[in-house]
């Protein structure tokens, strides 16, 4: 826990081991309806206010990085789908981006456009599902979730037509994509992008003015900018506090310079701002999708010279990062010239955004802890790897 003078309040932090019989030790256990998967928090409550909160995770650890050292570069591509299983295609792109940087493979135009379209569609899925989950945590179980999942289904159908599987896409290859867009896919996608605007208006009418949501989310889980930056927080959580840091603009990768889009910034950084920032980001993604679909060129979907089997990148090291829906998703690869990587490291945004959970929750209620965890938007596949 990062304790520095800039803390907004000095809630009594429980010294480890000091116990008072009036305190209530509650374990929001791995098997709990609102912890987004197997994640446990040992919360010490004084009445209803949180005195100390120790996160416990690792229940979903699948040894992803050690397995990657044992299999070929191509074979660990399907495993990247399982990292953040809400947005598999942006994980694929991050991994392919890292290997291309390592081996110096260029990507043809059409593949770059396809990657941008798929990444922005994944961002839409993630933020829409986020709205559903945060409302579920707050108690409106079902309504917002079902509306979000109805729209998500339409996008997943598009992914199934293109990549063959709704979620486990395994679609990117080093130097482009696995197969070309089937006939009529681009038209279906632009129809979906046009219908998404009205859906977002409906969701905003449903959520933004809702007094209960205002009361529950405003000034909850607020941290000053310095603490967020010190904690290494990236993504919508950081931008909600007003820090202008989006990798698509800070270090443009792929062909993001060609599209004109803006980065929404909040001013207080509490749960309400995080929800609003995600709404505005969805609007920006729609703009990018519209431009990318209009400029989609013809041509090869993969670099013909890229080898599929026995791909041996040169000895060396590369770190490539993309702006995933949850934050900066980075892959650090060290290659010793053989078929399998020497070291394969994932920079998981959910895991790093989770480290400041206790700082946000001190002094608040048990009900707020659940919403703050929801507003960080973690996926346990990425937290535990």
């Amino acid at each position: 826990m990062i304790s520095d003078s800039s803390m907004p309040y000095s809630a009594p932090t429980l010294a480890p081991g000091a116990d008072d019989d009036q305190l209530l030790h509650v374990s929001l256990g791995p098997q709990h309806p609102s912890t987004h998967g197997v994640f446990r928090m040992n919360v010490v409550l004084d009445g209803e206010t949180v005195v100390s909160l120790k996160p416990v995770f690792g229940y979903l650890h699948r040894n992803h990085e050690k397995i990657a050292e044992g299999v070929t570069y191509l074979s660990s591509m399907p495993y990247t789908d399982r990292l953040d299983y809400i947005c598999p295609l942006s994980n694929n792109w991050a991994y392919a981006h890292a290997v291309e940087k390592l081996a110096g493979i260029e990507v043809p135009e059409r593949a770059e456009y396809m990657r941008v379209i798929l990444a922005e569609l994944t961002r839409l899925i993630n933020h829409t599902a986020f709205m559903g989950f945060i409302l579920g945590d707050m108690g409106a179980w079902g309504s917002a979730l079902m509306y979000a999942f109805r729209e998500r289904e339409l996008i997943l159908d598009l992914f199934e037509d293109l990549t063959g599987a709704r979620m486990m896409a395994n679609f990117m290859r080093f130097g482009g994509c696995r197969n070309d867009l089937p006939a009529g896919w681009a038209e279906k996608c632009s129809v979906l992008v046009d219908d998404y605007g009205p859906f977002l208006d409906e969701m905003e009418k449903f959520l933004v003015g809702n007094e209960i949501l205002l009361a529950r989310c405003q000034d909850v889980g607020q941290l000053p900018k310095e603490t967020l930056i010190n904690g290494g927080i990236t993504g919508p959580m950081l931008r909600a506090a007003g820090v202008n840091y989006d990798i698509r603009k800070a270090e443009p990768y792929g062909i993001y310079e060609r599209f004109s889009f803006r980065i929404p910034l909040g001013d207080k950084g509490d749960c309400y701002d995080r929800i609003m920032i995600r709404f505005l980001e969805m609007r920006e993604s729609l703009k990018i999708l519209r431009q990318a679909l209009d400029q989609l060129p013809e041509g090869e979907y993969v670099n013909p010279k890229a080898k599929i089997r026995g791909f041996k990148p040169p000895v060396g090291e590369a770190y490539a990062r993309i702006e995933g829906p949850k934050g900066e998703l980075g892959f650090h690869l060290i290659s010793d010239g053989t078929v399998n990587p020497y070291r394969y490291r994932v920079r998981p945004p959910s895991f790093i955004n989770l480290t400041l959970l206790e700082d946000m929750c001190l002094g608040l209620d048990l009900a707020d802890v659940v919403i703050i965890l929801g507003s960080i938007d973690i996926v346990l596949g990425e937290v535990d790897r």
Partner: protein, 411 residues
Amino acid sequence: MNLFAAISTEPALWSPEWLPRLPQRLVEMLLGFLGAPEWLVSIAGFLVAAGTVVGVFLGGFALLSLIERKTLARIQNRIGPNRAGWFGILQPVADGIKMLTKEDIVPAKAEKFLHLLAPILIVVPAILALGVIPYGREWTPVSLELGLLFFFAVGSLTELSVFIAGWASGSKFPMLGAMRAISQMVSYELPLIISALGVVMVSGTLSLPLIVEQQGGFHLGFIPAWNLFTPWGFFAGILFFICSIAEANRCPFDLPEGESEIVAGHMTEYSGFKYALFFMGEYLGLFAISALGITLFLGGWQAPLPGLGFLPSWIWFFGKLAIVIFMFLWIRGTYPRVRIDQLMRFAWLCMIPMALLTLPAAGIWTILNRDGHGFLAWAITVPLLLIPCVIVTVIFNRRLASANRTYRFAE
């Protein structure tokens, strides 16, 4: 031969108005025919009347558990249970069998007897309260002279049973749930009773059938003279509706069993039929509180339009009950949960003062109307009630403005 006497004095056996009392009259005639003593006949008749009330509302409970899932499903663009029976009609039966066959686990640290007592103590007051509501012109199972007082006396027993459920389960989450439930119920009982006081002050009696009779007749030909269409009545009716949501632990205020925070509140350690009893208690409580709301503000079994006298009166009661319960379901499908301290602040700082305000308004209304100054009554009560609303709007907007968020866009 009192058999024929029974027929000649009262209206025809099969008249629709008397349909709800049919089982009772049949049993009385049968026993009378068999020559049973007078007190036995009255007791048997009374028991059968109580039986019809329990039967109707248990059937209503089963139906409501299905209708709730169907309406929530429709709100969420789903279809809802349609596998058990035709259009899911047998779903309540399936749930009932499931609840009966599930193993009934009692935690080791629980106090056995109290653990068993709690669900019973939740269902009993709800059924008692249902016995005193006038469902039709001829059908008030128990027409007490202190009907309203009886309703609130019995209604307050549920807090005790929620505590027993929370305490007897022995583990942490039920304790938290019980703490929340009691503080919520205690602080929302007050505005509930105060807003009901307005009606008592206007109609001058505590007996529910009389209250409904006084809401008969029509203003200007087609506006029914229900309490809801008077300034103070509209105000008190809305407060009553909000408090009944909190009293029945329904959606925006369903803190005690907030599943995303403390799993299932005081019901966590229950399984099998005891868990079903809790649900029955909750739904019957919902029926009771909305039935009372209809009796006090929506004119119980009074017909909404003048020309509809020929239909039996209890149809209107159950029609209004369906509408009010649909409002509960609609709200359940829409709103997230309120936090515990906001719930308390809302009750003590907003609901109780507003409820206290309806009392003088109702008082002025009755006095002025009794002296015939109808227009003056409106002229005084409407501004009297609207001023605090304006004040609340100003405060709310000022606070909203300070909490307003400006979102910059970096290029």
